[in-house]
Symmetry: C2
Subunit: 238 residues, 2 copies
């Protein structure tokens, strides 16, 4: 017990420092953007040494990963208050819009997210390995959504749907990043349009008559995922 509590104290202190650095980083990113923010200034702002910042975050990119994690937690927290008893479409709409609300304060600097997300080696890469915990958790949100849906969806589609919805949500985020309309109104309009479309598409695809088409489409998607998941020993840098 003594050892354990000693451990946890040390860890607590570490966690505090870690949080301090992350907070400082996000503040300066927010003010100056990603490229213009130096690791040195982050360290200074957090009141720690440069080396210490690197002790907690292996690289500047790791701070982005941490940011992703943070906003995911906030998204989850926002979702916790969500009423269960509505339609699938209504719930999907809310989930997506709450995500945007969570990201809102960081719109200016969000561009860098996708620079890393598109990198084949990045765990954020939508087509990449399933291993990243943040990404798993992020897909789980849509899993819950599909589970709790009061619609009949065929098994094969149901299995793939959380991932597809997650991909869709990534697409929306990508659009949002580019969206310079006031308050990102365009993104919200796009969400309305596409959620409506998606809802109809899912109903359509669930129709027994569509089975062959659906099967074919799902096989294609599966193939895409499969191929992406065995990346072998590549020569690209980590």
């Amino acid at each position: 017990m003594g050892a354990a509590s000693k451990e946890s104290i040390k860890t607590q202190k570490g966690e505090l420092t870690r949080a301090l650095i992350l907070k400082a980083a996000l503040e300066i990113f927010h003010e100056r953007g990603y490229e213009e923010t130096t690791m040195r200034s982050i360290a200074k702002h957090a009141g720690v040494s440069l080396g210490n910042a690197y002790y907690y975050f292996g690289s500047k990119e790791h701070l982005i990963q941490a940011f992703y994690h943070l906003t995911h937690e906030q998204h989850l927290a926002a979702l916790a208050t969500l009423p269960k008893g509505t339609t699938f479409k209504a719930r999907l709409l809310t989930v997506i819009k709450l995500k945007m609300t969570t990201l809102q304060p960081y719109h200016e600097f969000a561009g860098v997210l996708f620079k890393t997300a598109a990198n084949p080696q990045s765990p954020l890469n939508p087509f990449g390995s399933d291993s990243d915990p943040v990404r798993r958790a992020s897909i789980d949100v849509f899993k819950d959504l599909v589970e709790s849906a009061n619609v009949r969806i065929p098994k094969d589609l149901k299995a793939e749907l959380p991932y597809l919805l997650w991909l869709y949500h990534m697409g929306i985020v990508l659009f949002w990043i580019h969206d310079s309309s006031p308050k990102q109104r365009r993104t919200y309009r796009l969400i309305d349009t596409t959620v409506d479309l998606l809802d109809k598409l899912i109903s359509l695809a669930s129709n027994p008559l569509m089975r062959p088409v659906r099967k074919r489409a799902l096989r294609l998607i599966e193939e895409l995922r499969e191929a992406a998941n065995d990346v072998g020993g590549e020569s690209l840098a980590v």
Copy 2:
């Protein structure tokens, strides 16, 4: 005349140096990958100074842009020998496959392409401004393809189709980058599957009965493009 020829001599010399640097860069990229290649080593390999390399290429990323340009030219050259008289589907298949053949030697280092392409600020960004000449030229390939097609396609779709095919081709390239199967066989299989699918989809969408659906889809696509094309004064780095 004298002035002009003097000019052109200077330019010629410049072009030579430029080509020398680009050649050196591609060779080392090919051997060592992008990240591992230093500007210093490129300069040394080309027999020029570091500063001189920067005189011709504003940044390391500019070399990627130049690479894009080069492979586009090669793609065009390969297409020049293409017979005109076949079906749309057959031509599309050839265009895509020739593109892959052109890129083949650079498969190992191609990952970086998409790091830049996904950057909102990058001219390679598929959703970004239309201004980039290489990209325009690249879309023109599909414009020609659509023009010379021996199929009846409604006007509204025909207008958007080149861009959509270009987007599709970017998707294939993205997949190809991740594809570690021997000789990228998976990509070629994917091309076969999806070109077939696309061909059917285009026929389907061209059906007069599909007009409302088509209109709606095209409006959505147009909205996406539109939003992307006015990026205003962003705070992100160039």
